[in-house]
């Protein structure tokens, strides 16, 4: 290009980058500042929480303080307090002079004198000690002697000491003393000081006692904290340091910083959800649980889950994000956490939702299809024992063989010593086998027990031919909840033809049997018996709002439509009587869950008559297909597919296993293994892609995750619908959420080996047999009986409620209880009655317990009240004749007419009785419990008819509160104790005398 262009300045060398540099440096600096801010503030949001907490809590306490101070002031004004205070002042005044003197002598005389003597003494002693050491290390005897002399010289040396006088006058005496004298002086002054202090303490004893009493009165009367305590809390807040608050459990390396934000959790003041404006600051809503699970020992996330380490944000801390495997439990499921350690129990005190869930798992029969460790443990134990027996027998046979061989070898060995060795071996084996025999015997007993205990959840379907109305069966199978809303039999998703096939199989494979035919009973009497004998502890009648009775067993509102009258009579009369089954030997016959109420045949007929009337006039279409063998054949497939044999005894399917998943650790199953199917995306978007979301939806509608799926009928989800209520779903979800593989080592888990294990085991039996249906076993328990209008509305009937079992273990003797559980009639002949409370209409039924179960139950009651098993009876002083007379008078006094309520054995009188007979007291009750019972029955059995306040305190004994009978006035002993002894030594003759006196 010819045209010469003007050279432009070089852009690289001429351009300045100052602006770029400046801008980017500024940006970098800003990012550094940001990083620091991020680190210091954003990453540590708890600082804001703590600053707020300090402000809010200080304000809260400042408001609370004057209130509490006012309350305290009011208490101080109370005459009792004033009186104590005055006494205290007096007591203090009395000794004040001497106390002051002691203090003066000690401080001004004894201690200075002691110190002076000690100082001088110590100088000499150190010198001596140093010389002694020289002796010890010296090899030269001459030198040793020399040094010893030196020591003697020191000992003899006279030292001048200024000793203050011991009387506290402050004067000083000048003394010349030797080593021993100094030591003596020092020791004597030491002793003097001790003596003076002891005297001082003794003088103040009364005052201190009174002060304790006064402060105790304050603590006793003051609800919440005292003003000074609150001042202390305020001071804590004033010195509050912002920083991570953490609990670190070294052995499991658990770090929980929950309290960095939840600052009020462990405060001694109760802080409500909004007391500090935000619920995050509330105190723990269950301080009782916190008290037994000290956070310093258990942490927080061990129960609640969440990421205890994370303090960056709520989401991180609560672990509610995809990658944290242990997200915080929601409040309604919080009890799920209990199972980390309380996995072996069916009842965990304090975990009501969880217990409800477990109870549902047991009593809705979930375990029929889904194994869960602990549920139906008997059948597993049985299998294990059978295996064990086989092994033992094999061992025994092998030993026997070896024994024969040893003997043979011994017989043929060359020398005697060798032969002896062989014979000894044979002998040892023989002994081993005899031990094995004993073991086999014990296991055999165990096996018998277990065989009695193993039972399926639902009724045996082998009986349906004799039991049920044929045409009713398909209708029932089709939709049990239509016939009986809320029934435990769930609704399967069956095709009509499957219903027919299943009915056909069941019908054709049921047992044929003859039933004794019964005349129709009196249904009016039957109704009364049904409502009062105890049937309603488990069964209910009426549907919807008018439903009355327990939920443990079937609702009988339409039972008349389905069941044969004759069968009903047999069943009510004796549930253990079954149609003979040629395939099953008698000892393997399953025992029914339904107990016997020991009804007479007439009573059974009456009840059956009443129940037969419980029906609507629905017609059932004929079902000829039920006799078609082809249908039955197809039915077998369906029955297998739906797992009917999981809950029912069905001919030909005795060995069938469970069809569902094992749920023992379902809560820790990886989320990806829960099949959300087509709902996955929806779940993720709506935020329920979690165990909780899965369980809740699955329980609400087991077919939920089939929705939208294109599947063959038999490929669809098999779980039937139980039509659970929202509460039940929450309870079961809680239970399943907590069903996890525990991450805690053994020392954390509640797997006691002492008597508490007996409590754990007992609850399983109690839940399985619905003892709660009639008895209150835990305070707050509402038994089914307590919901029946008759018992709630009429105070007379309220007295007819079955007894509470709160302190049963302390009350009765274990041997007696065991007998009673075996046979509640307490008699081999008069079985149609209650053994103890014959006046009760309701009857303690005879359960088909195995020996093992009875023993477990007995241990349960004993363990709950910390009673020793076996029980060694207390020795009881025999009554002197005069004591007997006093006892008699007290027993029959107008003020305590014991025999007005207690049974006496006279039928006419026992009609009105509301308490047991004294004659069985000695073998049944425990004296110490009886003594406490007499004093304050209401604290042992709230609501009891036995009145409180029969005795009043007089010095260190209890005396009768009413008009004291003449002879008793001179009796110096304890009246309640006397009455107890009298009661325990009562016999029929004595009782007759009392009756006469009455």
């Amino acid at each position: 290009m010819p045209v010469e262009r003007k050279v432009q300045p070089d852009p690289i060398t001429t351009k300045s980058y100052s602006v770029h540099l400046l801008v980017s440096m500024l940006l970098l600096t800003a990012s550094l500042v940001w990083a620091v801010y991020d680190e210091v503030e954003v990453m540590r949001p708890y600082k804001d929480y703590q600053a707020r907490f300090r402000a809010y809590y200080t304000r809260f306490l400042a408001e609370l303080q004057p209130q509490q101070a006012a309350k305290q002031q009011a208490i101080r004004q109370s005459p009792e307090y004033q009186e104590l205070n005055r006494e205290l002042t007096d007591a203090e005044q009395q000794v004040m002079g001497r106390i002051q003197e002691i203090d003066r002598i000690t401080g001004g005389g004894v201690v200075p004198r002691m110190t002076a003597a000690r100082n001088a003494f110590q100088v000499l002693r150190s010198e001596i000690d140093a010389l002694r050491y020289q002796i010890e290390v010296s090899d030269d005897d001459a030198e040793k002697d020399e040094i010893r002399e030196e020591i003697e010289e020191i000992r003899a040396r006279i030292v001048e000491v200024d000793l203050p006088l011991a009387d506290g006058s402050g004067d000083v005496e000048e003394r010349e003393m030797r080593f021993e004298e100094l030591e003596q002086e020092f020791l004597s002054m030491q002793q003097r000081r001790v003596d003076l202090q002891a005297e001082r303490l003794e003088l103040l004893e009364r005052a201190n006692e009174l002060r304790g009493e006064r402060d105790g009165l304050m603590a006793d009367r003051l609800p919440g904290l005292g003003a000074t305590q609150i001042d202390g809390l305020l001071a804590n807040m004033a010195n509050f340091e912002i920083g991570i608050k953490q609990i670190h459990l070294l052995d499991i390396d658990l770090v929980d910083r929950c309290e960095s934000c939840h600052l009020g959790i462990r405060e001694p003041v109760e802080i409500g959800p909004t007391d500090l404006l935000y619920p995050v600051f509330r105190s723990h809503p269950r301080p009782d649980l916190l008290a037994i699970h000290d956070p310093e020992a258990f942490g927080c996330s061990s129960c609640h889950n969440g990421n205890g380490r994370a303090t960056r944000s709520v989401t991180k801390g609560h672990g509610r994000h995809k990658f944290w495997l242990w997200p915080l439990f929601y409040p309604e499921n919080v009890e799920a956490g209990c199972q980390q350690c309380h996995a072996k129990e069916i009842v965990t005190p304090g975990g009501e939702t969880l217990n409800h869930g477990r109870e549902l798992y047991m009593n809705k029969g979930c375990w029929g299809c889904h194994r869960f460790e602990g549920f139906d443990a008997e059948s597993e134990e049985l299998t294990a024992i059978v295996q064990q027996l086989r092994n033992l027998e094999a061992n025994r046979d092998a030993n026997a063989k070896e024994m024969r061989e040893s003997i043979e070898l011994g017989d043929t060995s060359a020398d005697g010593a060798t032969a002896q060795r062989y014979y000894a071996r044979a002998e040892e084996l023989r002994l081993t086998n005899s031990r094995i025999d004993a073991e086999i015997h014990n296991l055999g007993v165990e096996r018998t027990n277990l065989a009695e205990e193993v039972k399926k959840f639902g009724p045996s379907l082998k009986e349906i031919k004799v039991k049920d109305v044929k045409e009713w069966i398909p209708e029932w199978i089709k939709n049990p909840h239509e016939f009986r809303p809320g029934s435990k039999m769930p609704v399967f998703r069956l095709l009509d033809e499957e219903v027919q096939q299943i009915s056909a199989y069941l019908w054709q494979n049921a047992l044929d049997g003859d039933l004794r035919s019964h005349p129709m009973g009196n249904s009016t009497r039957g109704k009364e018996l049904f409502e009062t004998r105890g049937c309603m502890g488990c069964h209910s009648i009426g549907e919807g709002d008018s439903r009355v009775g327990g939920t443990f067993a079937a609702n009988l509102s339409r039972v008349g439509e389905k069941m044969n009258y004759d069968y009903m009579v047999r069943w009510i009369h004796d549930p253990s009587e079954v149609t003979p089954d040629p395939d099953v030997p008698d000892e393997l016959r399953p025992r029914p869950v339904m107990p016997s109420l020991r009804l007479t045949e007439a009573e059974s007929r009456d009840i059956a008559a009443y129940l037969s009337q419980q029906r609507t006039d629905q017609e059932y279409p004929p079902a000829p297909y039920m006799d078609d063998p082809q249908m039955a054949e197809a039915g077998l497939v369906a029955i297998r597919h739906y797992g009917c044999a999981g809950c029912h005894e069905i001919s030909g399917l005795e060995e069938e296993g469970r069809i569902g998943t094992d749920l023992t650790v379902e809560g820790s199953k990886p989320l990806d293994r829960l099949d959300f199917a087509l709902k996955t995306h929806e779940a993720e978007m709506e935020g329920w892609h979690s165990h909780k979301g899965f369980f809740e939806r699955k329980l609400e509608n087991p077919a939920f995750f089939d929705e939208g799926k294109e599947r063959e009928h038999l490929e669809r989800l098999r779980m039937p619908n139980f039509n659970l209520s929202p509460d039940e779903i929450t309870a079961l979800t809680t239970f399943l959420l907590g069903a996890v593989e525990t991450v805690f080592p053994e020392q954390y888990r509640f797997e006691p080996e002492d008597e508490r294990a007996a409590v754990q085991e007992g609850w399983w039996i109690i839940t399985r047999h619905n003892c709660n249906g009639c008895h209150q076993i835990r305070p707050g328990n509402v038994s089914a009986f307590m919901t029946i209008p008759r018992y709630t509305d009429d105070p007379d009937w309220a007295e007819q409620l079955p007894p509470q079992l709160y302190t049963q273990g302390a009350r009765v003797q274990p041997e007696w209880l065991s007998d009673f559980l075996h046979n509640p009639a307490l008699s081999e002949t008069a079985t149609n009655r209650n053994g103890v409370r014959r006046y009760l209409e309701a009857r303690m039924p005879t359960f088909y317990f195995s020996d093992r179960q009875v023993s477990k139950l007995t241990k349960f009651f004993m363990a709950r009240d910390s009673q020793p098993v076996p029980d060694l009876p207390e020795s009881m002083e025999p009554l002197t004749p005069s004591e007997r007379a006093v006892g008699r008078q007290l027993f029959t006094s107008d003020a305590a007419p014991c025999l007005d309520c207690h049974m006496t054995g006279i039928p006419s009188q026992d009609v009105d009785a509301t308490a047991p007979n004294f004659l069985i007291a000695a073998e049944r009750l425990k004296p110490n419990w009886t003594f406490r019972w007499l004093l304050e029955p209401a604290s042992i059995a709230p609501g009891t008819a036995m009145p409180s306040g029969l005795f009043e305190r007089d010095g260190d004994r209890w005396v009768f509160a009413g008009q004291i009978p003449a002879q008793a006035r001179n009796y110096a002993g304890d009246h309640a104790d006397l009455l107890t002894r009298y009661m325990f030594q009562m016999d029929a003759a004595e009782l007759a005398r009392l009756r006469a006196l009455q």
């Binding site: 690289i12 990083a35 680190e39 990421n307 380490r309 303090t311």
Partner: protein, 307 residues
Amino acid sequence: MAVSKKAATKSTPSATNGSNGSRQLLGLTVDPQEIKQKALMDLKAIKQPTKTEVYKSIFRVKHDQTARSRTLGVLSNVFLHLHPARVNRDAVRFSFTWGMGGISFYLFWVLTWTGVLLMFYYHPTKVQAFRDILYLEHDVPFGKLLRNMHRWAAHAMVLTVQLHMFRVFLTGSYKKPRQFNWSVGVILLVLTLLLSFTGYLLPDDQLGFWAVTVGTNMARATPMLGHEGPFGPQFGMTPFNDVRFALLGGSIVDANALLRAYIWHCIAIPGFAATFMIVHFWRVRKDGGISGPNRIMLESEIKPLRR
């Protein structure tokens, strides 16, 4: 040597002076005038810190504007040890270089430092590894920042290395005389990827675990050396002696794999990478700086090939 000798001779008189002074001190006679003078000298020295021996020993001597002193300046400048004194103007132009090589090096440097800091908090054991990451995330001051920086710098480095290579290719900079340096660069790319890959496993979470599982599963199929590869079984390969076993220290990704990944990640590969980087940079210098110096060449100017 010559310099130190000179210094030694210079210092001799002052040393004798000092010994004179000390003799006076022993005699307890103090000359206030002399002490004052010495104090003044010290003060003067403080006023001109650049003149002190301490300063000079650290920052070298300020040179006069002579050719010799300039040479000394170049020789003693730390930056000019890494770069030549002058570079082709294109090497300064960002649009030409994209700066990716330098950025890659800088990122490597960042990774080294953050990595070293992370090593303080990390134990390559199955029990502790994951916990340590949580610890870093929640406890260690700036721990989250540290880990994030390490991770993102690693990702960025994989990108910048690739871009660097892309640029080198587009400018034909691998051509004579830089063929070998390109090969070194390729090896550095491989090392970069391996560094990142070995680091992936270290948090011991699902992400890393399965990424490494997938990655190492391919090794099963190595021909002849993997038990699932062609001719592998014929060579007697089983899951317990093949190349994958060697990589993982076991037949599954477990504690040994973690430890191996750790050692490869922290010691072996960085060592190789550093070595190759040194070679790479040295070759850049020796090959005449970055490729910019070459004139553009016309087709007509191609010289015939001489073999």
